[in-house]
Assembly symmetry: C4
Homo-oligomer: 120 residues x 4
C-alpha cells in the first residue's frame, strides 16, 4: 500500500466505494424484479378464480379481504411502480458501471506508467 501514490490510493478506495454502491443497486434491483415476478404470478393465479372467490391481500402484517377485481388492479399498479423503479436503478447501474471502468483504466495506467517500485 505504501508504495502506491496518494492519488492511486484514493482512486482505489473510490473504486471500492463504487463497487459497493453497484452491489447495493444490483441487490435492490433483484428484490424489485422478484416482487414483479411474484405480483405477475399472483395475477395469473387470480385469473382462474371465480369473481366471488374469497381472497385476501396483505400489506405488511395486515391482511384484508378484497374482491378479485380490486386485487387485480392493485397488482397492476404495483407492477407498474416497481418497473419504473427498476428502470431508474438500471440508469444508475449504467452510470456507476461507466465510472467504474473509467477509474479502473486510470488506475491501470498509473500502475503501468510507474513500473515496479523495486526496479526504480
Amino acid at each position: 500500500m505504501n508504495d502506491l501514490s496518494p492519488k492511486v490510493q484514493n482512486q482505489l478506495s473510490m473504486l471500492q466505494q463504487i463497487q459497493q454502491q453497484l452491489q447495493t443497486i444490483l441487490s435492490q434491483k433483484a428484490q424489485y424484479e422478484m416482487a414483479v415476478r411474484e405480483a405477475k404470478r399472483a395475477q395469473e393465479e387470480i385469473s382462474d378464480a371465480a369473481e366471488d372467490a374469497i381472497m385476501y391481500m396483505s400489506v405488511g402484517t395486515v391482511m384484508m379481504q378484497k374482491k378479485k377485481d380490486v386485487i387485480n388492479s392493485k397488482l397492476a399498479e404495483k407492477i407498474e411502480t416497481l418497473e419504473l423503479r427498476i428502470k431508474s436503478l438500471e440508469k444508475q447501474e449504467k452510470m456507476m458501471q461507466g465510472k467504474f471502468e473509467q477509474l479502473q483504466a486510470q488506475i491501470k495506467a498509473a500502475l503501468e506508467g510507474k513500473g515496479t517500485p523495486t526496479a526504480a
Copy 2:
C-alpha cells in the same frame, strides 16, 4: 502489512471493526425504516375499509381476525416503537461515524509522518 507499526496495524483493524459495526447499524436501521413504511401503508390501506371489514393481523406465523380499530391502534403502537429504535440507532451511528473519522485521521497522520519505507 509488516512495514506498518503495530500501533497503526491495530488502528487499521479497529477501523475495520467500526466499519462492520456501522454496516450492522445501517442495515438494522433500514429494516426498521421498511417496517415503519409498511405499517404506514397498512394504516392507509385500512382507512378506506368499512368498520366491519374482515381483516387479519399476523404475528410471526399466526394470523388473527381483528377489528379495524384494534389493528389501527396496534399499527400506531408498532410505528412508535420502531421510530424510537430508529432514533437510538441514529445516535449510535453518529457516535460510530465520529470514531471512524477520528481513527482515519490518526492513521493518515501516522502514515504520512512515516514517509515511504523504501525512502528511508
Copy 3:
C-alpha cells in the same frame, strides 16, 4: 500487489470472481432448499386436515382460499420445480469448484516458481 506479475494478478481477480459466483450459487441453493423443506412441511401439515378444512395459499401478497387437494398438488408441483433448479445449481457449483481449484493450483505454481521478490 506490484510484486506480482500481471498474469498472476489477473488470475487472482478471476479467483475472487469465481468465489463470489460460488457464494451466489450456494446462497441461491440454500434458499431453494429451504423452500422445499417448507413446502414438504406444509404437505405434512395438510395431510392431517379434513378434506373441507378452510385453508389458504399465498402467492406473493395475495392469499386465496383453496381446497386441500388443490393445495396439495400445487405444493407437489412447486417441490418438483425447485428440485430441478437445485440440481441445475449443483451442476454449476461443481463446474465452478473445478475452475476454482484449477486456478488456485496455477497461482500457487506461479508464486512458488517465482521465489520471494526480495531474494532475487
Copy 4:
C-alpha cells in the same frame, strides 16, 4: 503476502475460514432467536383471544384455520425446537471462537518471532 512463510499463509487462510464459519453460525443463531421472539409474541397475542376466535397458522405459503389451543401447543413445540438448535449453535460458536483465538495467537507469535523482513 510473499514475505510470509507458507505455514503462516496457511494459518491466515484458516483464520479467514473460521471467521466466515463464525459469521454463518451467528447469523443462523440470530434468525432462530428472532423466530423464538416472534413465536413468544404470537403466544402472548393469542392469550388474550377468545377460545373460538378465528385464527390461522401458516406453514410456508399455506395458511390453515386452527383452534387457539392447537396453535398454542404448536407454538410451544416450535419454541422448544428452536431453543435446542440455538444451544447447539452456541456450543459450535464457543468451539470456533476457541480455535480462532488459538490460531490468532499462533500467527501473532510467528510474525513477531520473524521480525520485519527488510530489517534482516
